[in-house]
Symmetry: C2
Subunit: 376 residues, 2 copies
């Protein structure tokens, strides 16, 4: 009794049928658990080459003077570098860090450990890549331009939502554009997920970063690139976001679930893409330095026409969590400023194509973007 043999293979109209599929890299090692940060020393040990090849810890400077740095397994010539995360990471900043690490140490480091939010994780990935690939990080912004594997690099998120811990990109503000270094070598060799590290995150930041994940999922699940792999991860991340932002969980459970939402949300991009909110948010970040999570929220709140259900859900979350979005952000901008943002946004072609299909230029014009930006 054969099941479904000769069944005609039908596809939903919004599912792109492709001839080749990405052979997607996954983080090869992950440890999850409350308190697992204590295992970091043991995890790093087999990756230490010798006493002169240090582990370099890039740590969000919000932890400077706090307890966390004392719990880092700093031995031999290891170095802790505190980095402010007030602004989005920049290619110049990556290049300067690589230069600093090279001049401080005789040997190439054994590993780079990024500890913080998306900014710190993205910096750690980029620095690890640029320690083996010559030139400036800006040369590698784009898709699959990196030629050599990075040095061993570890991601330890202390706030949840960006998905940077599982993604194959590191998004940098460069001299010309905000664009990721998208590469199989970008992905972390190890991720450590300790939900307790997110205790103490300010509420606004917790919300806006969590919304990065939620908005990812709306964009991925409503995109034309979607397949069953990405859909299953996106749906789970979405379910977890609803539990966290609309439910009444205990604090520890909320931390754990948002950490997993971020993880699955990042995985959902494997065979998908983000969409309109991210494209336009890149414009805001590039011009005004607005942080990615907040930028996504500001844009997403204008996207009723494109993601009606998602935007309704987002407003419920805003209300439930008593979050006030800033207003008038673009009120004093010049025509040139708007043109810069529109240029950055419209250059994100894969995002628009995912959102609206290959003929997206028929539906999206500079005037439409201008009108939306003016309302932010």
């Amino acid at each position: 009794m054969a099941l479904r043999e000769n069944t005609e293979i039908k596809r939903k109209s919004n599912l792109a049928v492709k001839s080749t599929y990405r052979n997607f890299p996954m983080v090869p090692r992950v440890v999850f658990g409350t308190g697992c940060f204590e295992q970091l020393g043991e995890i790093l040990l087999p990756h230490r080459k010798n006493a002169d090849a240090p582990m370099i810890y890039l740590v969000d400077d919000v932890f400077e003077g706090k307890d966390l740095p004392n719990r880092l397994p700093v031995i031999f010539s290891d170095q802790v570098i505190f980095i402010p995360a007030d602004e989005e990471p920049k290619t110049g900043q990556v290049d300067a860090l690589v230069e600093q690490i090279r001049s401080n140490h005789q040997e190439i480091p054994s590993g780079i450990i990024g500890i913080g939010g998306g900014t710190l994780l993205d910096l750690a990935k980029a620095v690890a890549l640029l320690l083996t690939n010559k030139g400036s990080s800006s040369q590698y912004q784009g898709w699959d331009l990196v030629r050599k594997p990075a040095i061993y690099h570890v991601g330890i998120p202390t706030i949840s939502g960006t998905g940077s811990e599982v993604s194959r990109t590191t998004v940098l503000n460069g001299p010309k554009q905000k664009l990721g270094i998208n590469s199989d070598y970008t992905i972390f060799d190890q991720v450590l997920l300790d939900p307790n590290l997110s205790i103490g995150v300010p509420k606004d930041q917790w919300f806006f970063t969590g919304m990065d994940c939620f908005i990812h999922c709306v964009e991925s699940l409503n995109g034309t690139f979607l397949n069953a792999f990405s859909q299953s991860y996106g749906e789970k991340a979405m379910d977890l976001c609803k539990e966290v932002f609309l439910g009444d969980l205990e604090a520890w459970e909320s931390r754990e679930k948002l950490m997993m939402a971020s993880w699955h949300g990042g995985m959902s991009i494997a065979y998908s893409q983000v969409g309109i909110a991210h494209a336009m948010s890149y414009g805001l970040s590039y011009l005004l330095g607005i942080r990615h999570g907040l930028g996504n929220c500001l844009v997403f709140n204008q996207l009723d026409d494109y993601y009606p259900e998602g935007v309704q859900l987002f407003r419920k979350m805003l209300a439930k969590q008593k979050i006030q979005l800033p207003s008038g952000v673009c009120s004093n901008l010049t025509e040139d400023d708007f043109n810069t943002m529109i240029g950055v946004a419209m250059s994100m072609e894969p995002l628009w194509e995912n959102a609206l299909g290959p003929d997206w230029r028929r539906d999206i014009t500079a005037d439409i973007l201008l009108e939306m930006y003016r309302k932010i």
Copy 2:
């Protein structure tokens, strides 16, 4: 405004608080998509050492004479070995395959590619391990006994549900016991998920193998080892199983979703364990050679007292899919036979501990198991 600082960390009573957590290996590469089987040649190419170091394809013999073998990228000294999957894989079979491969080729293979269900995937993993680790595969049954990395190995499931494609185990019937080679080296280096490969699976086999995933999830989600990582994967796998076995999907969508259910179900074991159905099913397989999926179903149907909601859902799925479970399977067994099965089942300590907690021996006796086995 600090969120949840100093919040007391409470835990549900059924969540084990551990001092150390497994640093879990994930499959480092995965390709998913209808038709992606055509990409196999390109995927294997960079892993070929030289013309004398072959790729060895272990293929379920159900495909012998069909179209699939013609689509394999067989070049140089590559070898295709067809293997019947009527019985569970055995340690002796693994050892014989390793011997055969060694004597057929001058060099150690470039890779092993398993194509089939759980039996073929588990054989591929075990053969890859035993080509670099000396002695018999039975020496490595247990937890973390393998000392050297396996050769490059690829898993290509052609039926969905076992989760073998993501797991760090290969379950073998050995001279003394049915037990997995549980090791970080067991996990595949590459998985290829092409939903079309499962076209033509007989309906009973499709159902029983799918139920392996469903029962995994019930056991994992109701286990004492559960944490948020495993829970999120288990819940998604469970949701997908409900869609597949209780919904009315189109055939192609059902294939895709069950393939993802198997994937997530396997991942949910990362920080969890299976439970009573698997422990007792191991006894049935060991004594009677009953295939794992069917064995799970036969046992699970007796577990109302332990997994009441799961068993109800299982019976709905049986009815909806018009599947008849065999009966009287144990009706002619001797007392010795029952004792053998009970011995195998009760030796699976981590499974019982996951199901019932550390004091499981207080609740589970040989008489209780005997009574359940007699009803099968």
